[in-house]
């Protein structure tokens, strides 16, 4: 059974071992060590870059299937043309169709920005994956930057101008309106998202992705549910998921900023949107669900990757259910919700959490017990929610009283 134990030992840390094996093979061919390392790193970068594309292909199929079942349809299937069991190959067929489609250039477009936009939007989505920790250690993460999470925020923010580029260069009024909406929504919801991330960073004490995972002896979803809620809602708006699907709102804007794109260029916008959804799920998993942490990770690091994907899958499923079942908000509701509710809530939450966390650190000079810290943070969260609920209930009552008084005065004037 010697080979079995060796196989298990290899598999228990498969990804790192494959890298080491590749490096030894390359060095066996006579490559010097730095070159071999460079090649292995390049292969790793390719894998990380292509991984979201592969995931997205199956995710689109899963999304269509789940959406269809919820809406009482069959979804992709093999009843007409054969597309694999349960229509699993449907997305491949769609992709091939998009690639072979004629490249249509509408009149009056601004050619270079028009063609550059789909590339840049995919580029920005792929770049996010560089700092996602798929497992323990330094090998299962693209690069563990010491600004980790800030890098992600920076890239998703820097990519905003691409929407304007696509919308404006299309020479279409719906596209331009869609681009304006995109920027109004995405810039706005960046603020609560940033504040929620800042809360996490303050409690974890680091911006490194592996450091944030390491700080979660109690997962932050339990310790800071309010922060998780703010981050999740803001992220839904950032990835343009359905209560916030105002950017492409079919019934109002036809398709939003990428209305004039067809074929694979349209496909790239579609792809980037799905890739961002997966990336947000991965970021949520890392920030609030403890990333790769789980039982037996110390013995077999590959399990960490498995836990990561299971948690990420659950987050994606939650996103799908919200996206499929909720109707779309109006634009004023979307803006009011952000600026009058979510952003103030995020600011209050940041102040309370940071103060409470500092208080715990001061109160326990030898380091607070893990569950004590989590419990106190959770309690402060609950109190914040109650306080916010109380304040908004008071405000609502005052509004109602004012409206009632206005009606009374109007009636008086009529009788006089």
């Amino acid at each position: 059974m010697d080979w079995l134990t060796r196989l298990l030992a290899f598999l228990s840390n498969a990804i790192v071992n494959i890298g080491a094996w590749l490096q030894s093979v390359l060095m066996g061919w006579g490559l010097p060590e730095p070159t071999a390392l460079l090649v292995v790193r390049a292969v790793g970068a390719l894998v990380v870059g292509f991984f979201p594309l592969i995931v997205v292909i199956f995710l689109i199929w899963a999304y269509r299937k789940i959406a269809a079942r919820i809406q009482g349809r069959l979804g992709p299937n093999s009843s007409g043309t054969w597309a694999g069991p349960w229509g699993i190959l449907q997305t491949f067929a769609d992709a091939i169709k998009m690639i072979v489609k004629e490249d249509i250039r509408p009149q009056g477009i601004d050619l270079i920005p028009y063609n550059l936009a789909p590339m840049l939007v995919v580029f920005a989505s792929v770049m996010l994956w560089a700092v996602i920790p798929f497992g323990p250690g330094g090998s299962l993460i693209g690069t563990d930057l010491n600004i980790g999470i800030f890098y992600i925020l920076a890239f998703s923010s820097a990519a905003l101008f691409v929407f304007l580029m696509a919308g404006w260069s299309s020479n279409n009024k719906y596209a331009t309106v869609g681009a304006f909406r995109a920027v109004a929504q995405l810039v706005g919801y960046e603020i609560p998202q940033l504040l929620a991330v800042l809360t996490v960073v303050a409690v974890a004490g680091t911006m490194k992705m592996q450091g944030i995972v390491g700080a979660q002896n109690v997962i932050f979803l339990v310790a800071m549910p309010l922060t998780a809620f703010i981050f999740y809602v803001a992220s839904l708006a950032e990835i343009n998921a359905r209560p916030f699907e105002l950017l492409e709102a079919e019934s109002e804007l036809v398709c939003g900023y990428f209305i004039e794109y067809s074929g694979m260029k349209f496909g790239m916008f579609y792809l980037a949107e799905f890739m961002n959804s997966v990336a947000v799920a991965a970021i949520f998993t890392t920030l609030f669900l403890g990333g790769w942490r789980g039982p037996w990770v110390d013995q077999a690091p590959i399990l960490g990757t498995l836990w990561f994907f299971i948690k990420m899958g659950l987050v994606i499923l939650a996103w799908m259910f919200i996206q499929i079942t909720l109707p779309r908000l109006r634009i004023d509701q979307m803006l009011n919700f952000n600026w009058k509710f979510l952003t103030p809530l995020a600011i209050v939450n940041l102040c309370v959490t940071v103060l409470v966390n500092k208080g715990i650190t001061e109160a326990f000079p030898g380091g607070a017990p893990v569950w004590t810290r989590a419990g106190i943070l959770l309690l402060s969260n609950v109190l914040t929610v109650l306080a916010v609920w109380g304040v908004s209930a008071l405000g609502r009552r005052r509004e109602e009283r004012r409206a009632w008084r206005a009606v009374q005065t109007a009636e008086l004037e009529v009788t006089v």
Partner: protein, 169 residues
């Protein structure tokens, strides 16, 4: 001197910044000028990475490309003359801008000569925890606490001003 990867990258990012900057002031289409400006911002972020200042690189992307760049494009799109293409390359105040640019260039050259080129080129060791050092200096009374607070007061004033302007009366 051997040419390393960082030299090549420096030249690439430098070309990106300089080429982009030249394009910003020479293209006739204002929207294209704004897009070229984005390239300049991106190149600057790359230069910060080469200087081992990742926080500044990310802040450059976040603030300049994500906020200021968007603001500039919005401002351009809200100008009525924007749709009349192509625009003249410069307006009648070009000599003033050229004068200011020349003065700035002179000041920069003067400062570099003051320090000495050799001193500038020689690599300074980068502190290990740049992020922590930065954070501490920003709130340290001996460091930049005053500048930091003044900047935040300025931003709050801008916020209040914006709210006052758009408020319904």
């Amino acid at each position: 001197m051997t040419i390393t990867l960082s030299h090549v990258l420096f030249v690439l990012f430098g070309l990106m910044v300089l080429g982009g900057a030249i394009a910003v002031v020479t293209v006739r289409n204002l929207f294209h000028a704004a897009l070229w400006l984005m390239l300049v911002f991106f190149g600057m972020a790359g230069l910060y990475v080469l200087l081992e200042a990742p926080f500044f690189a990310a802040a450059q992307l976040f603030i300049y490309m994500g906020a200021i760049g968007i603001l500039i494009i919005f401002a351009i799109m809200l100008t009525r003359a924007f749709m009349r293409q192509p625009m003249p390359r410069a307006n009648e105040q070009w000599w003033l801008a050229a004068l200011l640019a020349a003065v700035l260039l002179g000041v920069l050259i003067f400062l570099i000569l003051q320090v000495g080129l050799g001193e500038v080129v020689r690599a300074q060791p980068v502190p290990e925890h740049t992020l922590q050092v930065l954070g501490v200096t920003l709130v340290d009374p001996e460091g930049y606490a005053l500048a930091f607070e003044v900047a935040s007061v300025l931003l709050v004033m801008a916020l209040i001003g914006a709210v006052t302007i758009v408020r319904e009366r």
